[in-house]
Amino acid sequence: MKEIHLCILFILFFFSCKKEEPFYTIGKLDSIQSEKSRGLFVLNEGNFMFGNSSLSYYSINNKEIINDIFFNVNKSPLGDVAQSMIVYGDYAYIAINNSGKVYVINKDNFTYIAKITGLTSPRYVSILNEKKGYISDLYSNEISIFNPSTFEITGKIDIGNKNSQFNQHTSEQMLFYGNKLFVNCWSFDNKILVIDTQQDKIVDSIDVRIQPQNMVIDMNNKLWVLTDGGYQGNLFGYEEPALIKINTTTHQIEKTFVFNNKEDSPGDLCLNGSGDTLFFINSNVYQMAVNSTQLPTNFFIPSLGKLFYAMIIDPVNSDLYVSDAVDYQKSGIIYRYNYKAELLDSFQVGINPGFFCFK
């Protein structure tokens, strides 16, 4: 009788082994070497709440794509909805929107350097110098100020609007101009905030149309803002999207190009290297010279059933890279065109390739 009790005790304490490896397998492990030459990062969002975002790297010289480089090198997944990234100095800073953090990796060998955690819903990172950078956010009404060398949060800029039911203001993209930082307030909002980067305070705000989504500054130092117009049932409003040209010194709107239909959903506004031509996706890819007097009527690259999702122009040779999200569930494809809209190349990447970044 007593022996049974002893046996029980033995059994209870005997099994204490632990497995300390990941319980999942990601992708195929390609060998990664340090890549110092020119390349293009493709940031794949994955699906919301699934945690399956990933980072791909396209070597422009070798015309080779390597997928899942973050996991391959660092043995841990990138996180949930990787929103955007920026290359500065030796590092690349990746905002992982639904994981509340920014990952910092070495831009050549992709190894993990540091992380900035505790954020709410980080969207974009902009870096002024080696001591100061900003992280925008979709839910907190604050822009975080951080040190890109020590990776610490050093302060916050409060951009809250207590009078609104729409949790304003949120911050999205950020562009430097002199001592100013232009920030678009996209979610349920219609403003561009102007922030003084020495005092870290709002000095002006520009009223634009509903939901400004993207911004670029062209060769004439004009600020271009693309609004998405809201959507059916949006409590803040629903109108035609527009492309708005703003003077960066006076903050006055110089010209507004309104799209024909509310159902248009233009996005992914970007510039070529010389800053004289705008490109955007509105189902198809369109191009528009900065001194144009009207919106383009003919497409530059037709979608032909593809789901164009994000885009970038190579500043060196004006190649155009556009991603196809396919069905938002399967892995996406990147198409590379030359400046004459001729297809040069295509390659498969991760799920929902939503952001490009050159290094």
Partner: protein, 650 residues
């Protein structure tokens, strides 16, 4: 924790040492009763979960019981979190759950959350596979799980109280009382369970890897069930069952989350009641009339504390009324005809009060179903079971739902049957699929499923031991499978999209008997499922024939129970094969695969009887080998944990 465990183990040992002097309870051998096989359930593919398996899991939720002891695959978001069933590669809304004859799947979502169904309230549990589910209702393209309560007319009085203490600050109290005589019986059962759920796990989704304690995953549940049975005379019985439960849980983040604090919680309130009158008009005719009501309330809340920002404040309510009349007419001893009619009415509303959402819907649904089953025994070997349903939902006719089953008895005196079952079934879109704002599609067609099953059902003896083998193979094709897909209009929309072809094998094996002085039972469930999605939407991959996400190709579980004098021991071994987590192909460079895993659970218990008082002490160790595993990608699961229960019964 180790200190607590040591105290419990020492207590356990002491009680055992001191109790050996007390009068032992009689250990009765299990008697196997082979009644003549009734005609009613011929040619159906169904598995009955053994009653001691139900007892073994009485402190658990139905989710744990099914995962560990059946061929149904349960997809769980974590301990205490949402658990849905995936039956033969179909989706959660294709598995219907019946509680005492009424459908309890939410009319809005179409699913049932198995994690909040307490096993303590279940007397009988059966699984109807594939087309066999049509005998109870339409729409269960994968199958139906049948929960039943029954009177125990022999029991005049019984009272049980159960106290459970388990790891991660988990506590449960379970109590029940039964009173009655030959004419009436009342049964009351209630539960209170709570858990902090602060388990430790090894987090390999952050850099550097580290041990984390699960946060924001606490939950508690109150539940009550009242049954009343009345035998008016030898021909008429009335039963009434009332169930109510309240479940409150915090929802944890995925493992890779390292951001600011977000509160996410869900409250579930359910009330169900059913009144049934069963009458034997004469020896040939039996009539059953049932009326039932169910109330479901689900609240989901997501809140950013730092900024006082409510992201979601969704409240949904549904009131469902069920009515059924069924006549069971034995025309002769070889033929039974069962006509019946169902009339169900649902009223549902949902609204999200978050300042930037402020939308919802308010809708009703009427369902009428006429059905007839005809069961005929051709000769001593062959029985056919034909059933036809005609359904009308909101004045729309659904095409006829037929089922044909044939049973063939191989050898005269042996319990060895060959069964075939073919059926066509329709699943009507849920209220959310039709009316959700934005994205609901009122033009959706019902999902259509064809199933065919073939199998053998064999009860036999191996030397002196009893054995049961149920081996079946199935194919099923589901067209117009409703999927929510993101559209260019910035929101997701419901569409009749997929064409899913599933095929597989299910094997149920049971052996029980006595070896030396040990009573033992061994139950083995194995399921092999292959699914592929052939829908015609554009794809980057050439390879569309890819196992659907979260469907393992192989899964099995083995349950062994040993009884020796007053001791009992059980061991549960579970295997789940690898699962894909997205619809991409095998060759896809970024596919994330959840590796296969094994789980082991053991329990040791001791029964003590002091005159009429029965005590039952049990220690359970789940995940004995501390396996690191996930049911859903990046959602933490606990390692090894301990449960101590003490039951008093009189």
């Amino acid at each position: 924790m180790i200190k607590n465990l040591l105290i419990i183990v020492i207590l356990f040992i002491c009680i055992n040492i001191f109790s050996s002097d007390i009068t032992d309870s009689l250990q009765l051998n299990e008697v196997v009763i082979t009644a003549s096989r009734s005609l009613q359930n011929s040619a159906l593919f169904k598995v009955t979960i053994d009653s001691f398996v139900i007892k073994q899991n009485k402190e658990n939720s139905l989710s744990d019981l099914l995962t560990n002891n059946s061929s149904v695959f349960i997809k769980s978001y974590g301990r205490g979190s949402l658990s849905t069933a995936s039956f033969r590669g179909t989706s959660a809304s294709h598995t219907q759950v019946l509680w005492n004859g009424i459908k309890i799947n939410s009319p809005m979502i179409g699913q049932t959350d198995f994690s909040i169904i307490p096993v303590f309230f279940i007397d009988q549990l059966q699984i109807l596979q594939g087309g066999s589910s049509i005998i109870e209702s339409s729409g269960a393209l994968g199958g139906t799980i049948v929960l039943e309560n029954q009177p125990e007319w022999n029991k005049k009085f019984e009272m049980t109280i159960n106290q459970e203490i388990a790891s991660f600050h988990t506590y449960g109290t379970f109590a029940g009382i039964t009173l009655g005589n030959e004419k009436w019986q009342t049964k009351t059962r209630c539960i209170y369970r709570s858990s902090l759920n602060d388990f430790k796990y090894y987090n390999t989704t952050v850099i550097p890897y580290r041990y984390d304690i699960q946060k924001d995953a606490d939950y508690y549940q109150y539940a009550l069930q009242q049954e009343l049975y009345r035998k008016i005379d030898t021909k008429n019985t009335i039963s009434f069952v009332l169930f109510g439960q309240y479940n409150d849980r915090n929802l944890p983040k995925i493992m890779s989350y390292e951001g600011g604090k977000i509160d996410e919680s869900q409250q579930d309130k359910n009330i169900r009641s059913t009144l049934t009158w069963n009458s034997f008009i004469n020896q040939k005719i039996n009539v059953q009339v049932q009326t039932a009501y169910a109330y479901d309330n689900l609240q989901y809340y997501r809140y950013f504390n730092q900024f006082n920002y409510i992201n979601n404040d969704s409240r949904s309510f549904s009131n469902s009324f069920f009515n059924n009349l069924e006549i069971n007419y034995s025309i002769s001893k070889n033929t039974i005809i069962k006509p019946g009619v169902d009339y169900n009415y649902y009223k549902a509303s949902i609204f999200d009060y978050a300042p930037v959402i402020q939308s919802g819907y308010n809708k009703e649904r009427n369902e009428i179903s006429f059905y007839t089953a005809l069961i005929h025994r051709f000769n001593s070997k062959i029985v056919a079971n034909v059933l036809v349903r005609q359904e009308i939902v909101d004045t729309k006719d659904i095409p006829i739902i037929p089922m044909l089953g044939i049973e063939y008895k191989f050898i005269q005196d042996k319990d060895f049957f060959l069964k075939i079952n073919v059926a066509r079934n329709y699943h009507y879109p849920t209220l959310n699929d039709l009316y959700w704002i934005p994205g609901g599609n009122p033009n959706l067609k019902p999902e259509k499923g064809y199933t065919a099953d073939i199998g053998i059902d064999f009860k036999y003896k191996v030397i002196t031991q009893n054995a049961v083998t149920k081996l079946s193979s199935f194919v099923s094709q589901i067209d117009d499978w409703i999927s929510w897909m993101p559209t260019e209009a910035r929101y997701w929309q419901a569409m009749n999209l997929k064409e899913v072809f599933s095929r597989g094998v299910e094997w149920y094996q049971k052996i029980d008997g006595k070896l030396l002085k040990l009573n033992y039972t061994v139950i083995f469930n194995y399921a092999f499922t292959l699914t592929s999605d052939n829908y015609s939407l554009k794809s980057a991959d050439e390879n569309r024939n890819h196992q659907l996400p979260y469907i393992p190709k192989n899964k099995y579980n083995l349950f062994t129970k040993l009884e020796w004098k007053h001791f009992y021991f059980s061991y549960n071994h579970i295997f789940v094969d690898k699962r894909y987590t997205s619809p991409t192909s095998e060759n896809n460079p970024v596919e994330i695969i959840l590796n296969h895993h094994y789980l082991n659970n053991i329990s040791i218990g001791r029964k003590i009887k002091v005159k009429k008082n029965e005590f039952d002490l049990q220690i359970k160790i789940d995940n004995l080998l501390n396996t690191d595993y996930q049911a859903i990608l990046f959602r933490a699961m606990p390692g090894r944990y301990y449960t101590f229960t003490l039951q008093y019964k009189i």
